[in-house]
């Protein structure tokens, strides 16, 4: 993250801004040169991130993305964690796509991942991936809801919103995610019988 961007993100509210000059994200915001899948793609093939256009994130960024994915969607009794389903690779696919709007998301996410590490080092002197849960939450609590975020976290909150949307979209489209929420369709049935009696009863429609 360059100095100008970092300052923009952190504004001046924080007493000290430990701006770290780092490389590796020089391409942020640059339009992807790759082409999309075209107007007549093979619809029957199974695609995975990187199949159609090259990905963006380096190993450090991917590790941070995976960690943030799991802060948003950790494992619990009903489903695995987001990173165990490679949702962070979907995020990378998304921000690398050569379609309208994705370049803005790339800039937001790449800068956001950088900011997350900066903020982590500022508060705890170690990168985000090395934080314990309470430390991660301390940062995420400040950026998880844009309408109530402090001004210095406005941009961070914008990033978190985007990242949460992408994580949810990536996670709940997987077989494990669909099972988690109780989506039980996409199977052929001999008949469609409408809602079961217990549903009608709960709705007062029985």
């Amino acid at each position: 993250m360059d100095r100008r961007t970092a300052i923009k993100w952190m504004l001046t509210a924080a007493a000290t801004i430990a701006v770290l000059e780092r490389d590796g994200v020089a391409a942020e915001g640059a339009p992807a040169a790759a082409k999309g899948y075209g107007t007549d793609p093979d619809l029957l093939k199974a695609y995975k991130p990187g199949d159609v256009w090259p990905l963006t994130l380096d190993a450090t960024q991917l590790a941070t993305a995976a960690a943030l994915c799991d802060v948003i969607i950790p494992a619990d009794a009903k489903g695995p964690s987001a990173s165990s389903l490679n949702v962070h690779l979907f995020v990378d696919e998304w921000i690398s796509a050569p379609y309208d709007g994705h370049a803005a998301d790339r800039k937001l996410v790449v800068e956001g991942l950088g900011w997350l590490d900066e903020e982590s080092r500022r508060r705890f002197q170690i990168p985000f991936v090395n934080l314990i849960a309470g430390q991660r939450n301390a940062i995420c609590d400040d950026i998880c809801y844009a309408p109530k975020a402090q001004p210095q976290f406005a941009k961070g909150a914008q990033f978190f919103k985007k990242f949460r949307d992408l994580t949810a979209g990536g996670y709940y489209t997987t077989p494990e995610g669909m099972k988690d929420i109780g989506y039980v369709g996409n199977v052929p049935l001999a008949s469609f019988d409408g809602p079961p009696p217990e549903v009608l009863k709960q709705l007062g429609l029985a």
Binding site: L43, F192, G194
Partner: protein, 600 residues
């Protein structure tokens, strides 16, 4: 689907049909079943839903989890290929840079056209819908009435298979007994809305959609549709038996490999092909209608996209079914000494009075639908219920500030998650993440819903298309330039739509995600956005004030007809596809009779 190449066409045909969608498919079906020799030209590639439809693919296997992109603007698994809001190398332009005056034009360059993708909603126009001017003094009356079209609605519904019920509501015609297939059972959210809307005086009833909820009656329908024609009966019976009933999975917009929904490619074209009377050339981009010195159409000039070569094909009759705007464009690009402003344009009205559907939507969340027991709500791959327009009397009595009505389509249920699933959920969660977020997603899944209006637009002088004076497509053909402006009738209707949706959502105990807009112009979907564009070659009873007569025959060229939405002179709230098919069948019957009498 068997097709022929440009070099294999016959020296002449009875009929050339341009376009293979709802209108072209129906016309070709009717002609070929009656024994006429037909050449169909389709600008897109061959397409076979049986082998190409992604029936059970989940979004995790799609790029970007299946969300819409410029390449696949209705989502990755939508059946539309080589098309959408843009077609590479085939631009169109807007006369105004004002975003509220733009027009969006959806095209599909594929066999079957937009019927592969459409919502399958199949509503009849009612008696009022053919005589709107007589009723409120606005727009135009059709030179035909409901009784002229009703027998063809019956036939089309029996042919394609439409589910629904007969509820006897005003200007919402019943079908004869035995024509409709049984409606599917309603989903939980659909039922709750039905119950609460009833208290508001809004009737919610089964919608009509072209989906087979049971197998068609292949033993009896063919004889009703083709009396005295044993060959046609046999072919249709076989085609009907090759269609499966819905198996209650897969969104219809993907297309249907088991042929349970109507698509031209699975319903019209297979029997037409089986007659042996249909030649079909795909990748055939029509350049112009050829007209001789006597003012009669002789055939079509087209560009074979696979080779870039020009071809000329000839027929006794030319039928345009390229979609309303594309048919207009072909005629505007067909210029002769007799027709310097385009063939069939002596009235100067070609391209005038294009209409789309008036639409907006409002989303909400209903706590009663939270945490429902897990169950499968895929259903028939689209809506099961809807609300027909219910305020005809109030409107007629002048109690509303807009002249034409709308019906309500709505969407509820435990759907298969797509890429944007749970996006923006913080309006309900306050920004949760972690285990709380997972619990929130489970809680709210299936409890959100969206109401959308589909309303009638009144034709006006500001909505038309002409040829762009400078821009050409990759074939060197001038492209269409669209002019658009909503009138106050549409804007007031949209304001009424939004208020109604809020009222229903709140009657369900829910809350709206966004309040109704103060300025309806900011929430009305742009012209063309509902993909119901019709008009441009309106029919009438006066050659000076219309392009076509009551048979969709052009006034100027006696053997040139339309079988798409171009001759519509009003655009009722009812989705136009069923009416396009009914009128195409009627026009084809008329052409067959005139050919038999030697008049064509």
């Amino acid at each position: 689907m068997p097709i022929i190449t440009s070099s294999k066409t016959q020296p002449t045909y009875d009929v050339i049909v341009v376009g293979s969608g709802a209108g072209g498919g129906q016309a070709a079906y009717t002609f070929t079943m009656a024994g006429a020799r037909v050449l169909m030209l389709e600008a897109g590639r061959n397409y076979d839903p049986v082998t190409e439809t992604p029936m059970f693919q989940t979004n995790a296997n799609a790029p970007l989890r299946g969300v819409a992109t410029k390449d696949k603007p209705w989502g990755f698994y939508d059946s539309t290929i080589d098309g959408g809001w843009t077609v590479p190398g085939e631009p169109y332009t807007s006369a105004s840079s004002d975003p509220y005056r733009r027009f969006n034009w959806w095209r599909a360059r594929m066999l079957g056209g937009r019927t592969n993708h459409w919502g399958r909603i199949s509503l009849r126009n009612g008696p009022y819908d053919f005589k709107p001017y007589s009723r409120d003094g606005l727009g135009f009356d059709w030179p035909i009435n409901y009784e002229d079209v009703a027998p063809y609605y019956d036939k089309v519904e029996m042919l394609i298979g439409v589910y629904g019920s007969n509820d006897g509501l005003e200007n919402t015609p019943n079908s004869p007994a035995g024509v409709l297939l049984p409606p599917p059972k309603a989903r939980a959210g659909e039922l709750l809305a039905q119950k609460k809307a009833k208290g508001l005086g809004i009737p919610i009833v089964p919608i009509h959609r072209a989906v087979l909820t049971t197998k068609q009656d292949a033993d009896n329908i063919p004889a009703k549709l083709h009396p005295g024609n044993a060959k046609a009966q046999r072919i249709l019976a076989e085609a009907m038996r090759a269609r499966a009933a819905c198996f209650w999975a897969t969104d219809c917009g993907r297309g249907c490999a088991i042929k349970a929904t109507y698509q031209s490619t699975t319903v019209h074209l297979p029997p037409a092909m089986a007659t042996g009377n249909l030649d079909l050339v795909t990748d055939a981009m029509v350049r112009e209608v050829l007209v001789d010195a006597n003012g009669k159409a002789t055939g079509i000039a087209y560009i074979d996209k696979s080779t870039g070569q020009d071809f000329v094909v000839k027929a006794r009759v030319v039928v345009l079914a390229a979609s309303s705007a594309e048919s207009v464009r072909i005629l505007l690009n067909s210029k002769t000494a007799q027709f310097p402003q385009g063939v069939a344009n002596s009235s100067g009205l070609l391209g005038k009075y294009i209409m789309d559907t008036v639409a907006t939507s409002l989303a909400g969340q209903v706590p009663a639908l939270e945490n429902l027991p897990i169950h499968n709500e895929d259903g028939a791959g689209g809506a099961h219920l809807y609300a027909p327009w219910w305020l005809y009397q109030q409107q007629h009595a002048g109690k509303l500030d807009f002249a034409r009505g709308y019906h309500i389509e709505y969407s509820t249920g435990r759907k298969m998650p797509e890429g944007g699933f749970s996006s923006g959920l913080e309006w309900l969660t306050g920004g949760s993440y972690g285990r709380k977020f997972k619990e929130d997603v489970r809680r709210y899944y299936g409890s959100t819903l969206s109401f959308g209006g589909r309303g009638e637009m009144i034709p006006n002088d500001d909505c038309f298309c002409d040829l762009d004076p400078t821009v050409k497509d990759r074939f060197g053909l001038p492209v269409l330039r669209f002019h658009w402006k909503w009138s106050s009738h549409e804007l007031r209707q949209v304001a009424h739509q939004q208020q109604t949706f809020k009222t229903i959502i709140e009657a369900m105990g829910g809350k709206v995600r966004n309040e109704p807009a103060k300025d309806p112009l900011t929430v009305i979907r742009p012209g063309g956005d509902v993909k119901h564009e019709v008009g441009g070659a309106i029919m009438g009873s006066d050659a000076r004030r219309s392009v076509a007569n009551s048979w969709s025959q052009t006034w100027d060229v006696p053997n040139l007809y339309f079988c798409d939405g171009a001759p519509f002179c009003s655009n009722a709230d009812k989705n136009p596809t069923l009416t396009i098919m009914a009128l195409a069948w009627r026009t084809a019957d008329h052409i067959l009779e005139r050919m038999q009498r030697g008049e064509l």
